[in-house]
């Protein structure tokens, strides 16, 4: 197929409409929806409401919870560790604090556990990829903090609970919003390069569902800048980290119902290690790589919901896993980058979303679930989308508006990552709009935690995307970074305190036996095993001919 500056001729025709309507649209403001209108749109068009995609969970303390089949499949599965295969008498690793996950939440927890007085050698971070490989490093657009008048933590709170459809754990939202400015100051002290004016004031932009400009950013590399600074600091403080080592099962005390460490798996040699810990933090992130409803995802390679599975094996309660976040603007064209994120900051900086005729059909900054539903309706109900050569449909994100609004060169300056991603496939987003469609982005729900980031099981703490409650049924942009900073810190502090007043337990896998009994009692017959650790994208033909020998 012949491409003209990255697009086939028929897509170019639609781009001409976008260009023609642009001068008029620059002055046009699309109205926002009321609560009732939002709810109706979601009911009709949001993937969460598609019939036949979910079922109730049959076992465990959150029995009856409705969630996507892909989630239930991992919970109604055999634990991969069999008690008879592990020798628990030999403790390979003995620490005060075990942190499972090396993204933003895990590293923040480690740094604050040090502040609380733990020694580096008494902490261990384990991660199945490398330290920092995570969804945290991929977040682009920014982080919210209500840190200048007339904004306030109250306003931030109200925006959050409205975005979450009033289902959030409000105690957690209070902590999130009241701690936010403090975390910004902490990052400044660590040497983060925030976008600022010459006086040091934060440059703050709009986010979907916010009622004021509150988005702090570091160009469109916000997550990468934060993660690389946190990682540098973790290495400076010499906290030990085992990379390519996954937690495959938690350990519980033989006598008491509390978590006392984990069974780890060396991903390369496939040998296990028994890691005993006085306190354990799950900071394992989300579930994009289990591809809910077959959606492509913005998530990193290891986002397979391991933490939720491990927590459920030991009896921790879960919430809001029925609500999945689809980011409204994933790349829909070309094929190489389908599903990758085009940050909401592009809309926060003024770009509109328009259909193939070049007309707006939704306010560009509705909360994410609402915006996504409107795009799906435009493409598949009103047939106003642009079809790609591989049969996808998408709408235009009018990126050249950034140049019109903020001057020549503004797009590349503000969005170097997006600019680079599109340049590699021959498209210049400063000149031409980009085609977008919702993509699987975030696990809104997860493990229940309290104000001390404790799960419902003693000795087990959790922070970040693996938890549920703070965002309710829908997270707003800029609150995931904030979530892992605020609750990573709280988890680190309280897990350290807990560890200081606890003696090491006697590790057992009694909960695995109990879990197997529950599966049997519920009549679940399956060969599924979990956690799955990594997705498998090998070609079908190769797998069909594979003989497992080595």
């Amino acid at each position: 197929m012949k491409l003209i500056r990255g697009y086939p001729a028929y897509m170019r025709e639609s781009i001409e409409h976008v260009e023609k309507t642009r001068p008029r649209r620059m002055k046009e403001k699309y109205r926002t929806l009321s609560i009732e209108e939002r709810e109706e749109l979601l009911r009709k068009y949001h993937p969460d409401y598609k019939p036949g995609t979910k079922r109730p969970l049959k076992i465990g303390p959150s029995k009856g919870m409705i969630a996507p089949h892909e989630v239930i499949d991992l919970l109604e599965a055999h634990p991969i560790v069999k008690p008879e295969d592990v020798n628990l008498d030999e403790i390979d690793i003995d620490v005060d604090l075990l942190i499972i996950g090396g993204g933003g939440a895990g590293m923040t927890a480690a740094l604050w556990a040090l502040e609380e007085g733990l020694k580096p050698e008494d902490i261990l971070i384990v991660t199945k990829l490398r330290l920092g490989d995570s969804n945290s490093i991929m977040s682009q657009g920014g982080v919210q903090a209500a840190d200048r008048p007339p904004d306030s933590p109250i306003r931030h709170f109200i925006d959050i609970v409205g975005g979450g459809h009033f289902t959030n754990d409000r105690r957690l939202v209070k902590i999130l919003t009241m701690t936010a400015p403090y975390m910004m100051a902490w990052l400044e002290r660590l040497g983060l390069m925030f976008d600022k004016d010459e006086e040091g004031n934060m440059l703050e932009l709009w986010g979907g569902g916010t009622s004021i400009r509150r988005m702090h950013s570091c160009k469109d590399y916000t997550g990468m800048e934060i993660v690389r600074v946190l990682r540098d600091e973790v290495r400076n403080r010499q906290v030990p980290c085992l990379e390519f080592t996954s937690a495959v099962e938690l350990l519980t005390d033989e006598e008491e119902d509390r978590v006392v460490g984990a069974v780890l798996l060396n991903m390369e040699s496939q040998q296990y290690y028994v890691a005993r810990a006085k306190a354990t933090i799950l900071a394992t992130g989300g579930f994009g790589r289990i591809h809910i409803q077959g959606y492509p995802t913005t998530n990193h390679y290891g986002a397979t919901m391991d933490g939720v599975v491990l927590a459920y094996h030991v009896g921790a309660r879960l919430r809001d896993l029925d609500a999945t976040q689809y980011h409204p603007t994933g790349a829909a064209y070309p094929e190489q980058i389908v599903g990758l994120l085009v940050t909401e900051k592009v809309r926060g900086a003024g770009a509109q979303v328009v259909n193939r005729h070049g007309e707006q059909f939704v306010f560009p900054l509705e909360p994410r679930d609402v915006e996504a539903a409107a795009i799906i309706r435009e493409c598949w109900d009103r047939n106003n989308g642009v079809e790609t050569p591989t049969g996808m449909r998408g709408v235009w994100l009018d990126t050249p508006m950034i140049e019109e609004l903020r001057g020549r060169g503004a797009f590349k300056r503000m969005f170097p990552a997006i600019h680079k991603m599109y340049s590699r496939v021959g498209i210049d987003p400063a000149q031409d709009p980009v085609l977008v469609f919702p993509t699987l982005h975030y696990m809104n729900g997860g493990i229940i935690i309290d104000e001390k980031a404790q799960t419902t099981v003693k000795g087990l703490f959790a922070a970040g995307e693996t938890t549920g409650g703070v965002h309710g049924k829908n997270r707003l942009m800029g609150n995931s970074i904030l979530d892992y900073l605020v609750f990573g810190r709280i988890a680190g502090i309280h897990a350290a305190r807990f560890a200081k007043h606890t003696s090491p337990g006697k590790p057992s896998l009694k909960h695995v036996i109990k879990y197997e009994e529950m599966l049997k009692a519920a009549g679940i017959e399956t060969d599924r095993r979990s956690p799955v650790l990594l997705p498998d994208y090998r070609g079908e033909r190769v797998l069909a001919r594979r003989i497992e020998i080595l």
Binding site: I35, R148, P153, F157, H300, E335, T390, K420, Y537, R538
Partner: protein, 246 residues
């Protein structure tokens, strides 16, 4: 209801049968061994299509983490190329090898005790003085950073300049593994950026003022009310909060 997305090729293993049968393919050589893969895939997806399952060499799959640094040559071309496997599209005749790890020493320091002095980068990384200005690092950079110039600025102690020109660094290490002077560029740049962020960029005064307000209890009463009001009341508050355009 809305659409059925079953037709979307999600990842390489989901490519429809007709793509495999009739579609265009290219030859790639993974560590010297030939495979035929569909055209238009990224290097990462092509390797998976060929049967590789990554443990190392795959991270974010979106161009942000630097885990999938890849080196390649093309048939009949003497040059050695570098890119990210998750971002670069396969081309016919590529000889590929991944670089899943880069050994490089990182200086250990206490950010609180540093000062933005001109010699500070040189003090922690004296090897930057070994730069021979060959520019191989710049050519190796998948992020198009002027790596060699940044090292020259680092030598001259121009912290602000180094910080800003290396902001897009994803720390993949390709520069470092190609450098004949054995400089760990990406660690040098990290130090420069942290010193710049900590000591040269001004701290936001409004953040400190807000923290003081929060600590003084200014929002406590209103916040506690929000914790207990009914959902109906909360909806009313939400609908009436107004949008503040400034």
């Amino acid at each position: 209801m809305y659409h059925n997305r079953d037709r979307l090729p999600l990842e390489a293993n989901d490519l429809p049968e007709e793509t495999e049968g009739r579609g265009e393919t290219v030859r790639i050589y993974i560590m010297g061994k030939e495979y035929r893969v569909p055209a238009g895939l990224t290097i990462m997806k092509a390797m998976e299509y060929a049967g590789y399952r990554f443990i190392r060499g795959a991270g974010c799959r979106g161009g942000f983490c630097g885990a999938c640094a890849t080196v390649y040559r093309k048939e009949g071309d003497y040059k050695l190329y570098t890119d990210l496997a998750c971002q670069k599209t396969v081309e016919d005749g590529m000889y590929l090898v991944q670089l899943p790890f880069v050994p490089a020493n990182k200086a250990v320091y206490d950010i609180e005790e540093l000062r933005p002095e001109p010699n500070i980068l040189l003090r922690f990384y004296p090897e930057i003085a070994r730069c021979v200005s060959c520019n191989t690092c710049t050519k190796a950079c998948p992020q198009d950073i002027e790596v060699m110039y940044a090292i020259q600025h680092a030598l001259r102690g121009e912290i602000e300049r180094v910080a800003n020109m290396t902001f897009d660094c994803i720390q993949c290490g390709l520069c470092t593994i190609r450098c004949p002077a054995e400089i760990p560029h990406y660690h040098v740049f990290q130090l420069a950026r942290r010193i710049y962020g900590r000591y040269i960029l001004k701290p936001a005064r409004h953040v400190r003022e807000r923290i003081k307000e929060i600590e003084s209890g200014k929002y406590d009463q209103e916040m506690d009310k929000l914790l207990t009001v009914s959902v109906e009341e909360l909806k009313r508050i939400y609908e009436n909060r107004g949008r503040i355009e400034e």
